[in-house]
Symmetry: C2
Subunit: 500 residues, 2 copies
Amino acid sequence: MESKLAQLKAILAEIADLNYASALLGWDQQTYMPPGGVMARSHQLATLNRLAHVRMASDEVGKLLDALEPYASQLDHDSDDARLIKVAQRQYNKRTKVPGEWVAKFAQTTSAAHSVWAEARAKNDFALFRPSLEKIMDLRRQYASFFEPYDHVYDPLLDDFEPGLKTAEVKAIFDALRPQQVALLQAISERPQIDDSFLFQPYDEKKQWDFGVEVITKFGYNWKNGRQDTTAHPFTTNFGIQDVRITTRVLPNNVASALFSTMHECGHAFYEMGVKLDLERTPLAGGASFAIHESQSRMWENLVGRSFPFWEYFYPRLQEYFPAQLGNVDLDRFYRAINKVEPSLIRVEADEATYNMHVMLRLELEIALMEGSLAVKDLPEAWNARMQDYLGLVPPDDSRGVLQDVHWSSGYIGYFSTYALGNLVSLQLWECIQKDIPDLTSQIRNGEFSALLGWLIEKVHQHGVKFEPQELVKRITGSTIDSAPYVKYLNQKYGEIYGL
Amino acid sequence: MESKLAQLKAILAEIADLNYASALLGWDQQTYMPPGGVMARSHQLATLNRLAHVRMASDEVGKLLDALEPYASQLDHDSDDARLIKVAQRQYNKRTKVPGEWVAKFAQTTSAAHSVWAEARAKNDFALFRPSLEKIMDLRRQYASFFEPYDHVYDPLLDDFEPGLKTAEVKAIFDALRPQQVALLQAISERPQIDDSFLFQPYDEKKQWDFGVEVITKFGYNWKNGRQDTTAHPFTTNFGIQDVRITTRVLPNNVASALFSTMHECGHAFYEMGVKLDLERTPLAGGASFAIHESQSRMWENLVGRSFPFWEYFYPRLQEYFPAQLGNVDLDRFYRAINKVEPSLIRVEADEATYNMHVMLRLELEIALMEGSLAVKDLPEAWNARMQDYLGLVPPDDSRGVLQDVHWSSGYIGYFSTYALGNLVSLQLWECIQKDIPDLTSQIRNGEFSALLGWLIEKVHQHGVKFEPQELVKRITGSTIDSAPYVKYLNQKYGEIYGL
């Protein structure tokens, strides 16, 4: 049995190598590839992805997994090997239950849909995109059917991002959260607005870059195992546990954008860097789910990076970088500015207090589309109605409404909720951290982050993919995903800032 | 038969993708990879290389090639398809004649030998490296045996770099060349030496970089299909015909090093960029051989870059970049300085007139080692004796003698001669170019390189790997590789410079 496990591990290591190589090709495409390389690169990526898929979906893997099942059941349930076999089985099932024809058709459809969506958004013409989205939804319903029986048609899609999580659970979580957030936003809207205009003036790009580097270096980002580059859209990627790279984008007239994005990506990078090295080249290297990953990035970006103690330490430094722009702005004014709450049309520009609303809106629409209770043709109307309910705004056009995000055109249905779930989990963890590190606030005030990072590595990062998201959150916090800590945090933080 | 050919092409395209991905992983390792990435990267490279090897050596490829052989013989001998099948057959034979055990043992031996060599060079201790080199030579003789019958035991090694070229041919070429070069060097040594000290003073690195970029942009380097980065050792690599990248290294106290290296790598890049796009993702994309590749890099570096007309155009620009260093140095003095001839111990620092001597020395020793007429233990003595004969110098220690190059520790036997052959071919081509473009000199004097590059693309680059090196040279020049044009060039150029 040991030898069968070794065989399985050798195949999984090969697949990991192919996936890492793909990731590097993708990173290069976003960072340094000259424009002429695009055609050859798409062939290379297709080949590597196909080889990894074929290997994972092979009879050889299926037979090894069948043979190892009884062995795994005798192992300690929490052991690396038991979890490895379980995760490999999950991946094998996903690969083999979905017919190759579907995969090809889906790839073709979404590839075509992407440019249609881009054109529709540019022309503010939802009707143009509608047939593409209808095809995608049909394919996605078909996808769900490959995983029958299920509790809910949306479950198989959610499972691709949040293993084991059910639609009913997410709905219950968001049903508790929604009215609380709506009430908070209503209260804020009745208070005088904060002036953050000084954040938007010319800020030297090199200095912005350097300050961001200084901050994450202080966080503990290990430059021997990573680097930062510039891309159009910031992201984190990795090619092993000891090569985890982040990217950022510096805007010349916005001091906040690159900085918070750098902290955000650093949070993602910490997760990948913190996985136990024994798990390298196995499917257990990585994050438990998209939500858990997002809990890490949002923690460093918001719970640390938008906190008052953080800026007690770093604001004098930022003022040294930008004396002309910030010399006359005191800490309190700066802190309020970076925490300004303002309902807006665009998700990616949303602040901490409104962000979840954008996500819940999308989740509800996705579920309704999958259930068939909402038709694609009625989507813009449904979108606008919810925007009015949740944020008190109606998009003046579909480009700034239902057409704003790329996700649906890429076939990503089931993704959005992970953003909001990550926010919730970040607070559940944060409450535990505050108990385990009672002087956390004063540590942050002194620019000390090693205890915090150490806690995250021990409790979250080192385990990689071993535990499903609900299981992991419960192991650490004693509860599954729950919105209460987040609501409490929002009310307290914005209560102070807006004097509620 | 068409369908079998399509099947073969699909497999070859997959192999090309794997090889390109490997090349990108290698490029990244030399340019941007953080140090922590090294272990994971070596696994990824090993996996990609193994997959490419297994695919190429597969029964499926063997059967397709067998089936296609009669078909190929009916095709036009010079057609892409006929040549594709021929080159694929050659690669298949190389892959399948060598047993996997040998490949594993060789990889293991050279991997270990590399660090032993580095230590031996640092400690100036040939005895330390001797057992490793003995093992490598044994393995290399065994390698040759897989290709029996052969005319000479060195032939199979040479063939890996120069398809179809025989040891007897190289020997004959070098036998004609050697006395001519020795005589020239002897004559130069009796003349007053040139002062080139002004080349070695502080030169701003950014300006050096910019000047190099200006030069190769003028040459016609297509930045949409390439880029330049900094590495410890300059090289050219590519991931398709439209993504061909070069690297350079800028020395703060040497204005010549980065510049000539940039021109050299640009010459290599032109070759890869000039291959007919139809050959993309086939084994025909690339250069005919190492020597033909080197003929391109040496042409741009030396025949263009170290020529008087080139500097008539570019020297005023260089003086604008560096007025303090070069404002008082006239063109003639500068031209003589960059063409200074001085026998030296180290190959990679050798000038145009002495370089081939270093190479011929290594070739003769390699042949003797392979024949068994020279034992590894006697190698340092043989090295030093030849250095005395050819260059009038004896290395004061083995670190600056027999231990200086990395090649043997990596198992590269058969490589060195390609450097000198490239020099010879560059002049054979140059003579043709001068006939076909009668005003070439005045074009270069006016910074015009498009006719030259166009000629090279048409005659050399577009064909890729289609023709073996001797065949290609003969098609273009009417003669196989021949040293006479090169000797004539050296005598004329250095006759003028040194007043012989």
